[in-house]
Symmetry: C2
Subunit: 146 residues, 2 copies
């Protein structure tokens, strides 16, 4: 069914890149414009730690949908920036708990504000119902493949 294939091809490029990289690039640009020298990937780690501090690296893998080596190196870089520190878990010495430093706590308000403003820009003309539907469909896609 070639018509259907064509639709799928289109959706592929839409889902896989366009919108998500556009949002990522804009957010990075807005961070830089505000003088914030962190990457969005680093920010996404901080984002989860602001919700719950001192998560294990494995837990950060689960919450950010990244693999273990990616997290290891992201935490390496966040440690170099002195935004987080690794704390060996007293209960299980295999585990590193990743905890926020004061510098990271100061970033919370400003970066969340910028992220919200960026999403406002991105969602101009998009209704709340549409947002809900997109979330549901993309969640279905994720669940189909996980």
């Amino acid at each position: 069914m070639p018509n259907n294939n064509f639709r799928r091809g289109e959706l592929y490029s839409v889902i896989n890149g366009m919108a998500s990289t556009a949002v990522a690039r804009r957010l990075q640009k807005n961070f830089r414009a505000a003088g914030l020298e962190i990457t969005i990937e680093q920010w996404s780690i901080l984002y989860h730690l602001w919700k719950e501090d001192c998560l294990s690296q494995q837990e950060l893998c689960n919450r950010t949908f990244r693999d273990k080596p990616s997290i290891t190196r992201l935490i390496d870089n966040l440690e170099k920036l002195k935004l987080v520190k690794r704390v060996s878990s007293p209960e299980d010495k295999r585990i590193n708990l990743v905890c926020l430093n004061d510098g990271a706590k100061e970033l919370q308000d400003i970066t969340l504000r910028i992220a919200n403003e960026t999403m406002d820009e991105a969602l101009i003309g998009v209704t709340r119902d549409e947002i809900e539907m997109v979330k549901n469909v993309l969640q279905k896609v994720y669940d189909n493949l996980k």
Copy 2:
């Protein structure tokens, strides 16, 4: 409006990563399972060349939403694999036309089949109307930020 902020935060992680990286990883995995040693990024270049051969690097930037250095290095790697060749444009010596080699043409059928099968997996339980809706919303997001 904290409730609204929370919704945006959720959408951010949905749009920016989950579904698109899940699709990308699955497609890469399916390529490897079929013994195909190309990356999805390389495949996305071939995809556009199958639609229209001998595009300039700049045109590939536009069609794949990538920047120039990314395209330069992707073409470098595709040339190493002997899948494409750079041909200097006779009309404008600044321009490299990127043209398919025979090896790349042989990949077309099998990789498009795998890509369609992957999208079938990804879209189980998603209706045609939902697909259209998601495409429209993500296109709006892209247009808002471009």
